[in-house]
C-alpha cells in the first residue's frame, strides 16, 4: 500500500498483446507492467477485454501478437499449468470451484503443485506420502484460519452460499502461495458487508504475504480505494494507465464511463 515498501522491481511486463477470435479483436496492442508487491486494478466497461487479458497472463488464451515477461522470463505461448508452476494463481469471474469436493479438499488441491511424492507411496499412504499430506494439511489450515472459514472445512462447496464460495476460491488460489494473484471480479454480486470483508482479505494478503495482485473490479470506490495503480481498457484498447487519481482525471476514461459515442 504505502509508497516506501513498494519496490520498483517489475514482476510482470505485458508488451503489445493482441488477441482476436475469428474476426473479433478482443485485445489490441496492450502494454502495461505490474510491480512487485503492488495491487494493480484493471477496469473497463463490459466487453472491454479485461478477462481476456487475465486469460492471456495465465496462459489460457494465446495472444497472436506481443509477449509477456514474468519474473524476467519472456514467453509467447504457454500452457496454464506451466504458468501455475511459475507462481501465478487466480480466481474466476464465475466461480470455478470443484463442486463435488469439500472446502478443505479444494484448498488442498490448490497445493497440488507443491506435493511431490509419487502415486505408489500414495497408494500405500505411508512414509513420505503421509508426512507430506500432514505438512500440507497444516498449510491448508493456515489458509483456512486466515480466511476465517474453519466451520465449513468439511462442507462440500456446492452447498455453500455465494459469498463463501468466493472466499473458498480465494483460499484455493492462496494455498498455492503464488507470487502473482489474479482476481477476476472478486466482489461481483456481493453485498456491502461482504465486499468490505473481501477488501480486507485482499489488503491483508498483499500486506502480510507480500503477494502481488492484479484484480478486475467494477465497483469504482473499491478500486480507487485499494489499488496502487489502475489500467483502463475499452473495446480492447488501453485507455489510461496510472494511479487512481490520474485515471480518475483522464478525459477518455470519463467519456468511456459516461458513454460518449465513439468517433
Amino acid at each position: 500500500m504505502s509508497e516506501q515498501n513498494r519496490s520498483p522491481d517489475i514482476l510482470l511486463n505485458v508488451e503489445g498483446i493482441s488477441l482476436s477470435f475469428g474476426g473479433v479483436k478482443a485485445l489490441n496492442n496492450i502494454s502495461f507492467d505490474v510491480r512487485k508487491g503492488e495491487i494493480r486494478a484493471i477496469i473497463g466497461p463490459n466487453g472491454a477485454g479485461k478477462s481476456s487479458m487475465l486469460n492471456c497472463i495465465n496462459g489460457f488464451y494465446h495472444p497472436q501478437e506481443g509477449q509477456i515477461t514474468f519474473k524476467g522470463e519472456t514467453r509467447k505461448q504457454m500452457q496454464p499449468h506451466k504458468a501455475a508452476e511459475q507462481g501465478i494463481a487466480r480466481t474466476f469471474q464465475n466461480i470455478a470451484l470443484f463442486k463435488g469436493m469439500s472446502t478443505l479438499d479444494n484448498i488442498m488441491t490448490g497445493r497440488n503443485l507443491k506435493m511431490k511424492t509419487n502415486f505408489l507411496w500414495q497408494a500405500l499412504h505411508l512414509g513420505p506420502a503421509r508426512r507430506e499430506e500432514m505438512q500440507h494439511r497444516e498449510a491448508a489450515e493456515r489458509v483456512i484460519d486466515f480466511l476465517e472459514i474453519e466451520q465449513i472445512r468439511k462442507t462440500p462447496v456446492g452447498r455453500l452460499p455465494y459469498g463463501l464460495q468466493k472466499r473458498v476460491e480465494l483460499g484455493r488460489a492462496l494455498a498455492a502461495e503464488p507470487d502473482l494473484l489474479l482476481l477476476d471480479e472478486p466482489m461481483a454480486g456481493m453485498n456491502h458487508e461482504e465486499k468490505e470483508d473481501m477488501c480486507r482479505y485482499i489488503l491483508d494478503v498483499n500486506d502480510q504475504l507480500g503477494t502481488t495482485i492484479v484484480l478486475i473490479e467494477h465497483d469504482m470506490s473499491v478500486v480507487m480505494d485499494i489499488s496502487d495503480r489502475v489500467v483502463v481498457l475499452d473495446y480492447g484498447k488501453l485507455l489510461a494507465d496510472g494511479t487512481p487519481d490520474v485515471v480518475r482525471a483522464n478525459q477518455d476514461v470519463i467519456n468511456a464511463y459516461l458513454g460518449v459515442t465513439h468517433e
Binding site: F21, S51, N55, F60, F92, Q93, N94, A96, D184
Partner: protein, 311 residues
C-alpha cells in the same frame, strides 16, 4: 512380407482391375450408409432438442420392430399394425417424459446419458418379454429383389430405403428450420432453464421430440428388420450410429446423413478389399476406429462449430 503386400498392394490392384465392381461396392456402401443415417437421425433429433445423448435409440428401433412383427403375427393388417406401433411409440415418449426426463431436468449430460442406458435395458427387456426373443422375419411388402443395371447389381429394398430416408430427412430439416416448434426445440437444446423462462413448454417439447425420434426408430426398424430380420442384434447395429454422429457432429441433420454415408462406404470398401488380409469381420470395429482417428483431428465433427472456452 506377404501381409504387407496384402495390405498395401493387392487391394489397389483389385480396384484398378475391375472399376465396375468397385463402383458397385461403393453404391452398396452408400445404400447401407443410408440405413445408418436413419438411426443416427433419431439420435440427432433428441440431442438437438433435449441435449440428451439417447443411448436407447437402438433399443427403440428394436422395440418398434418387435412390436410391429408381434402385431402382424397376431393377424393385424400391415397398415393398422404400423399405425398402432406408431401410436405406441408416442405413448412411450409420453411415459419417458413423465417417468424419467421430468425428474432429470438440468442434470449434467453424462447423468442423462447413463439414464438412457438404463432405459435401453428396460426397452430391451420389455420388448423381448412381450414378443419373444427369436429372430423374426418382417415383410410389409417392400420388394426385396436384385436387378442389374449398367452392369451393376442393385437391390430394390436398398433403393426404397434410400428414398424413404431422403424424404424423412428433408421433412425434418424443413421442420427444424421453418416451424415455431422447430425454433423452440433449438432453444430448449441450448438451455433448459432459459427456454422455460421465456415460456417454452419444455415438457411438451420433449414429448414431441421423443415421439418423432420414436417414429424415426420405427422406420429404421422396418427397413433394418426387412433386411436382416427382427432380432436382438438390431441394437448393435444402432450402436454403429455413434461413430456416424462423431463424424457428422451431434447436432447436424445433414451431418448425420453424410456421416452415415461415409461410414457405410468406408466399411464396405475396407471389408471387401482389406478384409481378407486381416481375417475378416473388420466391420465390427472399423467405424469406431475411423471415428476415433477423426476425433483426434476435428473433435467438433464435420459440421459442428469450434467451441471457444471461456472462464
Amino acid at each position: 512380407m506377404e501381409f504387407m503386400e496384402n495390405v498395401f498392394v493387392l487391394p489397389f490392384l483389385d480396384i484398378a482391375d475391375s472399376p465396375v465392381f468397385f463402383l458397385e461396392v461403393i453404391i452398396s456402401g452408400l445404400l447401407s450408409g443410408v440405413m445408418y443415417s436413419l438411426v443416427a437421425l433419431g439420435f440427432v433429433l433428441i440431442f438437438k432438442a433435449s441435449g440428451v445423448f439417447n443411448f436407447a435409440q437402438g433399443a427403440m428401433v428394436l422395440f418398434a420392430a418387435l412390436t410391429l412383427v408381434g402385431l402382424m403375427e397376431q393377424g393385424v393388417p400391415v397398415v393398422i399394425a404400423i399405425l398402432l406401433t406408431a401410436l405406441l411409440m408416442v405413448v412411450l415418449a409420453i411415459l419417458i417424459e413423465h417417468m424419467m426426463l421430468r425428474h432429470l431436468v438440468n442434470q449434467e449430460g453424462i447423468i442423462l446419458f447413463m439414464a438412457t442406458i438404463g432405459l435401453n435395458f428396460i426397452l430391451e427387456g420389455v420388448g423381448q418379454i412381450a414378443w419373444g426373443s427369436d429372430v423374426k422375419k418382417l415383410d410389409i411388402g417392400i420388394p426385396d429383389q436384385s436387378f442389374e443395371y449398367a452392369g451393376m447389381l442393385f437391390n430394390t429394398l436398398d433403393l426404397s430405403a434410400a428414398l424413404i430416408a431422403a424424404i424423412m430427412v428433408t421433412t425434418l430439416a424443413l421442420f427444424f428450420q421453418y416451424t415455431g416448434t422447430g425454433r423452440a426445440l433449438r432453444a430448449v437444446a441450448d438451455d433448459h432453464q432459459a427456454a422455460l423462462s421465456v415460456g417454452i413448454p419444455l415438457k411438451s417439447i420433449w414429448i414431441i421430440v421423443w415421439s418423432v425420434a420414436g417414429l424415426v426408430a420405427l422406420v429404421a426398424g422396418i427397413l433394418w428388420g426387412t433386411k436382416v430380420g427382427v432380432q436382438f442384434s438390431l441394437v448393435l447395429i444402432a450402436l454403429k450410429a455413434l461413430p456416424v454422429l462423431i463424424l457428422g457432429g451431434f447436432t447436424s441433420v445433414p451431418g448425420a446423413i453424410i456421416g452415415g454415408l461415409i461410414i457405410g462406404v468406408g466399411e464396405k470398401v475396407v471389408e471387401v478389399y482389406w478384409g481378407p488380409a486381416f481375417g475378416g469381420a473388420i466391420e465390427g470395429w472399423f467405424a469406431y476406429m475411423l471415428a476415433l482417428a477423426f476425433l483426434m483431428f476435428r473433435p467438433q465433427g464435420l459440421f459442428g462449430e469450434k467451441i471457444i472456452e471461456r472462464v
